[in-house]
């Protein structure tokens, strides 16, 4: 049997683009925000993780919550082992909401608490959410987290809370927003100034923090933007591509020089 694990490498299925169902990327005159994550640059340093916690008022992940697997991080660095000692390697893969154009989480929500906004974001309306967790199940990337507890910050830690971001109550689902509050703020400012939003002007907290610039954010509708350019790299791939979720995040593969030679000859 074909190795069951190679799916990501099998021929890309192009049919998604011709589905007569919803167009994954509806034409908007506005923005289509996207991200590029360069696995060759990500060192796994976790700066993005804490930056997101800090920016987005994520509750403390106490020890027992980690053990219970109820800790929340809107972005996480997945670590995969490759090979055995002494050739074992660690691979880091930052995973956050992919803001799928064909989001499996959106269709299942009974109350429209999660939907696609005109800027191409998968947004979560906390007030609507009734906590069925159907979306969290349906998301193949497992990036949606449920609030098992009322969040608490022992005083005066609550002083750190970002006033631009809601504190989520218990019983609802939350996830990466692409720092939508930063996007909106920048858009408003650009509006006031009567100019378009410039490339690189919006920086989500994780992108801002990432010391190696492994994360790049921008407008995919702007063909001159850095994200547009990088997303056409020959190292580009999307996560779980065969599922046809049409993510707004493009990954760039890690370069492994020990493999390059054999493959480059075959014109990979």
């Amino acid at each position: 049997m074909a190795s069951a694990t190679d799916t990501a490498e099998l021929p890309v299925v192009a049919a998604a683009a011709t589905l007569p169902t919803d167009d994954p990327h509806p034409e908007t005159d506005g923005h289509r925000w996207g991200m590029v994550i360069d696995a060759d640059k990500c060192t796994g340093c976790q700066a993005c993780v804490v930056a997101c916690q800090s920016e987005n008022n994520l509750a403390l992940n106490e020890e027992n919550r980690v053990i219970e697997r109820r800790a929340k991080t809107w972005i996480r660095i997945e670590r995969y082992w490759e090979g055995e000692w002494p050739n074992a390697k660690a691979r880091f893969l930052p995973v956050l909401c992919q803001h799928c154009g064909n989001a499996p989480c959106e269709t299942v929500c009974p109350v429209w608490a999660t939907y696609h906004n005109p800027d191409g974001l998968n947004v979560q309306v906390y007030n609507r959410c009734i906590g069925t967790r159907f979306c969290a199940n349906a998301c193949p990337y497992s990036v949606r987290y449920f609030n098992f507890w009322e969040p608490e910050w022992p005083s005066p830690m609550d002083r750190q809370l970002n006033p631009d971001v809601t504190v989520r109550t218990k019983g609802i689902v939350e996830k990466c927003t692409f720092c939508i509050h930063r996007i909106n703020r920048t858009k408003r400012q650009a509006d006031r100034d009567g100019r378009p939003v410039a490339d690189g002007e919006v920086e989500p907290a994780c992108v801002q923090a990432c010391p190696t610039t492994a994360l790049v954010f921008g407008d995919l509708n702007d063909s001159d933007s850095k994200v547009s350019e990088l997303s056409h790299s020959k190292r580009a791939f999307t996560l779980l591509e065969p599922l046809g979720t049409a993510p707004a995040i493009t990954y760039l593969k890690k370069v492994d020089p020990s493999h390059v030679d054999e493959h480059e000859e075959h014109g990979h």
Binding site: P11, V13, A15, P242, L243, G244
Partner: protein, 452 residues
Amino acid sequence: MIKPEAVGLSLTLRPPYRPSTIAISRKGTVAVAVGLLAALGVVMYAVKLFSWGDRAEWAYPAAITLFVLSTVTAAPLVAFASRMARGYWGLPARRVVELFALPSMLLFVLLIPILGSLPPFEQDGVTRANLWFGWGGGAPFLTDQLAVSVMLLAGGALMWFAAVPDLAGPPSRVRAMPAWKRLLFLNWTGTKRQWVVLRTSMRWISAFYLMMYVFVTMILTTDLGQSLLPGWRSGIFPAYHVITSFQGAIALIVITLFLLRRYAPSVGQFIGDEQAASLGKFLIALTLFWFYFFWSDFLLVWYARLPSEVAAVQTNVAVTYIVPFLIAMFGQFLIPFVTLIFNPIRRKLSRLAVVSVVVLIGLLFDRIRLFVASMSSENPFSHGLAELPEPYYPNAIDILFMIGVVGMVAAIYLWVLTRIPTPGGWEMREGAMYRREQKYMHAEVLVLGKPD
């Protein structure tokens, strides 16, 4: 409180029933016509064999073969259902449908080149999806043919066993036979023990035939269907095929009964609108089932939007084969559903027969859209379709081949119909015994016995 139509008042067995082979009006004309069609089938089969092409060449033959499986081979199951439910309506029809076991045997022949044209499970280290875990030891050709043979033999056995009490004649005649012939006639002298054994074994063989039928459907639809069209992996598909086969079988039976009533009065005298009422009920139920099974399949693929699955469905439903699909949908669902909800249509054999023809046309196109799409698909080894294929159209040989197959089926059926007494004598007599008309209070009532 009970609707009189449901009881089958039209069935009257007053004239003492004697089993006999039937007489068909204008027998000669029919025989010539059918014989010519059958000959066409044989010739076309030979033509195809000699001009052996690639797998796609066998796409339309595969479609008609699965059409035969869904109608002719499925028909004897109705006899089984009728026995199980001890339904009185089925009595005169049982033999009529059991006889389809013989033309079913064509399946074996038809499948030889079709299965032979299939690609291997593994090629260049890549495996295509299959139900045989990539087993090279004879799958799919030998396994499928083996399963088909076993099923066909069971069907044949069933037909024969049911007919033996009628064929055997008086005990003295059987006792006088040579040994091999006695064995063939099960040494039938009609002892009580023999009756018990006969009934029990018929029950078991019927159940076995049903299971084999389901199994064969599953493997054939997968080997000739899903496993060839990349991305098509639908768990419900074998069940869909079985359900639509029942629909096809009922339609075929309705048409057969109608023709027999029209052209073979020896059978026709026992066939009334009682049969139509019951078969019509089944047909509309199965029509609804068509929608249920199709929708269960389509909805989930469309909703989940897995590109590989969607592409497969676009091929055989939404884009490439949309025309045959629409014909199938109208034929198998919309037209029968809209017409059969009306009692006057459902309860009249002639009208029901017209609807049944529509159903069979729909079924044929259904098989075409499904199996032509898969048999003609280019790369069964890929994980999903990279682009939607063009429709694969039949050529003249394909069309003549399909007509010829129908001819062969008809010819074999007619032949056996004139050899085995129809309807089945002993069951008809038994039915009459368990049935009595009497008065209760002010009403005429029917008392129906249901033996264990």
